[in-house]
Amino acid sequence: MDTVTTFDPDILIEEQGYDDHFHDHHHGDKYQSNFITHYVFSQDHKIIAKQFLITGMFWAIIGAGMSIIFRLQLGFPEESLAWLQPLLGKWIAINEAGIGTLDPQFYYALVTMHGTILVFFVLTAGLSGTFSNLLIPLQIGARDMASPLLNMLSYWFFFLAGVVMFSSLFLSTGPFSGGWTAYPPLSILPQASSGSAAGMTLWTVSLILFVVSVLLGGINYITTVLNLRTKGMTMWRMPLTIWAFFVTAIIGLLSFPVLASAFFLVIFDRELGTSFFLSDIYIGGEALDRVGGSPVLYQHLFWFLGHPEVYIIILPAMGLVSEVLSVHARKPIFGYKAMVYSILAIAFLSFIVWAHHMFMSGVNPFISNIFVIFTLIIAVPSAVKVFNWITTLYGGNIRFTSAMLFAIGFVSMFISGGLTGIFLGNSAIDIQMHDTYFVVAHFHIVMGIAAFFGMFAGIYNWFPKMYGRFMNETLGKIHFWGTFIGAYAIFWPMHYIGMAGVPRRYYSFETFDAFSHFDATNKFITVAAIVVFGLQLLFVVNFFYSIWKGKRMTTRNPWGATTLEWTTPIDTGHGNWPGKIPVVHRWAYDYGKDGREFYPQILPVSEDESETH
């Protein structure tokens, strides 16, 4: 580590840095004065990042816990669930023999809530909210976000959305149960099912608050990246994390309003009696007088967000992984510009593939052809990224830290899940595959597990920046190997079940003789899911233990990274840099060049360097 001692970042920033007179103003009091403004209604991006992360972890435990309950039903339908009654109350019915069974209606509610919570609250807010907030100002050399106030509001709208959703879990009619996609008519007619009553009302309110949160956050991320980069930080010198968060925010900003517009029309149909999405419906033999609407129209509006949403989830993970792979392989990321262009290509394509979620919804098969082609084209930029990650690893001086293991695991998951996407993207194969466990396996691996792996890589890597301490590496490695093997154990068998045609979301397969030989497989999946869930609790323990008791950070750049966040003091105060802000002289990936381990971005370019960006 001789390179670390050859310069002192403080002296370098003082000599080379840019004086924005930030500390001339006296605003220490405004941000750090008391507990409420410092930890609760904080406007500091680093605190807001932690708020997003811990709230996301809370929701991840709830959402994953729900999946364990419905997996118990699927794996062990004949076993008594009476022991869950203290938790679930009337949703567990106990017969005379003392056998407790899960209420089918609540099973659907659990599946719906699992999807909603994981997609929106954990993998959108918890992932992009955490790391965009933490890393954008730190890595581009800004004091804070463009509007710290809107940033704070973004978190509190998310919090409010969570409160509303959480309270819907305790309704006597149960939370919404019509699937996380909330297709009409189930989402519109309160008489359709018990969850479609008050549960759905709270669901829409919660998600509209959530859209507001995403938009406030996104406006900030985009403006900050475009307007507040420090001197020398050109777009082509930004770390790939920033590119990913930036493009993610743009996608979110263009697609979430469309989701809101669909939800507003749903609210109109529910509460005001319009018929945007309702037509020709019979309830109990009685024809409903609401005619003229189209349920497929809702699906178009929903998936116009819905598909970009999966890239809103996966792009931040890709950005984090690119950075972690490069830092821990001690090599520049392979094909930096190709990585950026593929992020942009994925973002563009994400807007013109939405109907591949609707091949079986009655859309014109000729229109489906166009969507098949665009869908399969996404494989090209995705493959570019995968090859670049693998090439980055090739010949690298790899340090197998927990962060690095999760980053490599991400690449594995993304390949496995991505390949099955090629199957599902074909409208002809989709006739057999749609709504089966093959789909469940595909999207859980490619955007569920992969996104979580990206998030874990980010947490293990930037935990020292957040808390000044390290997470326990031994527990981290147990966490990785258990989750890696366990996640494949859960989802790999689902491919086979799905190919056999077993439909997703079903409460029970007792009446289907054709599927009876999958009982053992389902048991295996459930056991694997319980083990993996337990390992995540281990991670949570490690996380909170390390905040207070973890190994202290002694140097400010423990991973030997080039980026600006590691030039700030270990205990980073408001404004991030105590004096001037650093000026950037090179790109973020000068690793292993000219016999030096790495060149930080703040180091001026000397004349005898071989190649500079």
């Binding site: 710290p148 106030l149 307007n227 507040l228 116009f304």
Partner: protein, 192 residues
Amino acid sequence: MDVAVSNQQTRNKIHPHKFALWVACASITMMFMAWTSAYVVRQAAGNWLEFRLPNIFFINTALLLFSSVTLHASYIFFKREKESLYKGLLLVSFLLGITFLVLQYIGWQDLTNIGVELTGNPAGSFVYVFSGFHGLHICGGLAAIFVAIVHAFALKFKVTAKRKLRFELTLTIWHYLDFLWLYIITFIVLQS
């Protein structure tokens, strides 16, 4: 929010808050684009009620455009330090905005009178959705003008960079909402 101001650099010509506002306008535009696309798709499916938009909506369009002119004039007089004209036109713009909302409501009544109701054929429901949500955004714009009025009358008159920026933000919101309504009404006319 000294952060944003103090971190500004000479090479960035546009103020971050102004840029953020433009980004916000883009997302509002996406919401209305989604509704108008839904309108086109639904219209193509048939069973579509044909009706003529009541005249009051067109008169109201002119009124809203005029309020943009008065607000812009107020901004110009602010920069030229004509205090009374600046304050007066600010008030006029606010009142025109309120009048716009009232006339939109009367427009809804006219629609109901010719048999186009909120709960009827989606052709009519869409008009209520467009004008209703645009109206809600107008309320937001009026709140911004209201804040500008409070500043105009409560603070000592002085042209500073900060107050100029505030006014420009208000002006951008109001012009944008004008443009949005123009898009909506042109869309409805062209589609029917």
